[in-house]
Symmetry: C2
Subunit: 399 residues, 2 copies
């Protein structure tokens, strides 16, 4: 039976609910708080920190990612957090409650930063974001990033742009003080959400080939270059069906699927993970933000000739009450009309459009198809000409 | 310039807002309340009821559908309505206000019947539905039709099954009395929503070929068998990309698209209407109801070997507050694994899934693809394993 190292099971709540004892009943030996320090391939054993050696026939890496730190003095202080594991969340929750926390600083404006803005703000805590760029979530078109910024401000999040963090010190009014190029700001907690990298310390030690992304190279069966070693989730690469490259997009649904594929193959079944198209989303306050496929930079890198259009359309029929606008950007190849990517924001209907377009990307559809897709029309659920149609036909004309 | 006969412009509100004068400013001669009684192909003229003859170079049929009536005594009484045109809606609204209406009867439980249940009930008017079958919207799996029925009952709609309507008479407590096989029921208005058929009186007169559906035969350019005659919308057929047959599915979005295609071709451009996959939806109270592709009966008729599965999954991640269940049924061909159709119901997320699956049907994807589609995952917007994945993988295993 294979040993799972790390957090293959992303829904850690379940892992907590199903204690190691519970797992053992089903014949699975789960050891928590057991760090593997070395893999002895010759002996076919892993060695734990406490010296215990455990034999394996098959080894699966699900080591996930390690959060990056800015590398500034004081960043190890109590009250400075990263958010990766379930236990990080528990620690943050306990801190917010016990301190008690009146103000929080978030460094970074990616997915984690945005989701935590909402989570912390909704507890009535003041939130200030320090971001090195001028707009949040730079994967999205600046117009959409601006919409996200407006949403943050609407909920009284203070967003500081072009920020360089320099040090964490003891505060006066609050527990901590963050020193930046814009002066110092105080808060009762600081969340460092400046990025992550695949956790590949053990694979590296073993000399397992890593891809250009720094993540573990795998094949469609989630097998690494070693016959008995598999890797799944954020620590390994996935095949991107649009770019044709192997990429590292650390997302829970991908990890989940790869886990199933590895498990099935290890168990003697036959299953492949057919890759991804880059679908992703998050919610920040009342806004859905989603994207799929390639952005312009990635499209150019993959050798395409991207053209794009950005429209604002009706999420449901314009004549209906509660209609809201959804912004949709499409990117396509000028040479072939092939759809390459899409981005969307809106209080409703953004994720829905991105999922439909993800199916289109999966199938390799071009703008002629996307512009005429047959979608379920009814005024309360969507307009007759969906923003998808309008954007695709607009872009087609421009190309 | 072509003359549009009938209601090509489905969003009649716009037609009303843009008076004939307004149209004339842009060089378009729109005549409302002008019934064409005959097409004189030899002369290249249409003759109106008042005898006026208008010449044409190109003729476009957009005559839509005619509501069916049950054919019972008294069905022509004041207070008995059908709902097809914008003016029908205005007449119903005026009647509800002026009578005043305390109770309404709806005969039929299709799209129109369901949408009108909600519209009338939300005005505080008592609603009773008489339906010849046992469950509403029989296109959907009985389990989903049952969900629709529960939704009606939750909103105090009285649903009478296995009903045959016999006559409309003068009522005692209310204006009208509907006599049925279950006895008589009174109401201040009766809506007959028992079906529609393509309005092809003029095309028939001209000897224009109709399809097996009774609607006008057209090609991918929306051209009929006559060089200078086009047809668009509910009165003509569409190519169904899944069944490979020409079908008549009277829906506003299809009509809209076909109108554009005809217009472009008539204007000297080149455009085709690439067909439909049967996507459709409606909302009844708090429930989204949607379907796409073929149902089992249609699949068998088309020569497929349908297998199906029906699951209830999480519309968003199960751990999130406000999570609701969405029911999803998938139908696939046992021989090839090709996806053939899907149905969904839920307070949220049903239309979104059906649109994603409509893109999959458009592209001809099979269950292997659908089971691994890369969708935008984030707990507040969808689970890691979407009901789409779960249903497709379940069905794949069963096949």
């Amino acid at each position: 039976m294979p040993y799972y190292i790390g957090d293959v099971i992303k829904e850690e709540t379940r892992l907590i609910a199903r204690t190691p004892e519970k797992f053992r009943e089903t014949g699975i030996d789960v050891r928590i708080d057991s760090r593997v320090e070395e893999v002895d391939e010759k002996a076919g054993e892993v060695r734990l920190v406490d010296g215990t050696r455990i034999p394996y026939d098959v080894l699966v890496f699900g080591t996930g990612t390690t959060p990056l730190m800015p590398g500034i003095p004081g960043e190890e202080r109590e009250g400075v957090f990263t958010l990766k594991k379930f236990t990080d969340a528990l620690r943050i929750k306990a801190w917010l409650r016990e301190v008690p926390c009146r103000k929080a600083i978030i460094v970074g404006a990616g997915f984690i930063g945005m989701e935590m803005c909402e989570a912390i703000r909704n507890l009535g805590i003041e939130v200030q974001v320090f971001h090195r760029g001028t707009l949040p979530v730079n994967r999205w078109d600046p117009e959409f990033s601006k919409t996200v910024l407006d949403e943050l401000r609407k909920h009284q999040v203070d967003f500081v742009t072009d920020a360089e963090v320099k040090a964490v010190e003891t505060g006066m009014k609050h527990r901590l003080r963050l020193v930046t190029n814009h002066g110092a700001a105080e808060a009762d907690m600081i969340l460092m959400a400046v990025g992550i990298r695949p956790d590949v310390a053990l694979p590296k030690q073993m000399g397992l080939p890593l891809g250009k992304t720094g993540a573990i190279q795998v094949n469609f069966s989630q097998k690494t270059s070693r016959e008995e070693v598999y890797a799944v989730g954020d620590c390994c690469e996935s095949f991107h069906r649009v770019s044709g490259h192997w990429v590292n997009i650390p997302l829970g649904d991908i990890a989940n699927k790869q886990g199933r594929v590895a498990g099935r193959n290890i168990g003697g079944g036959a299953m492949i993970f057919p890759g991804i198209v880059g679908a992703q989303s998050f919610k920040v306050f009342d806004l859905e933000v989603a994207a799929t496929g390639l952005d312009e930079r990635e499209a150019i890198e993959a050798g395409f000739h991207p053209a794009s259009t950005l429209i604002w359309g009706n999420a449901i029929a314009g004549s209906m009450p509660r209609n809201t606008k959804v912004g949709l950007k499409l990117i396509a190849d000028r040479a072939t009309g092939k759809l390459l990517g899409a981005q969307a924001v809106g209080t409703a209907g953004a994720v829905s459009r991105i999922n439909t377009l993800s199916a289109a990307l999966w199938a390799g559809l071009n703008l002629d198809d996307v512009g005429w897709l047959d979608l379920a029309y009814a005024p309360p659920v969507g307009p007759a000409w969906d923003p998808i149609h309008i954007a695709a036909q607009t872009l087609k004309r421009e190309i």
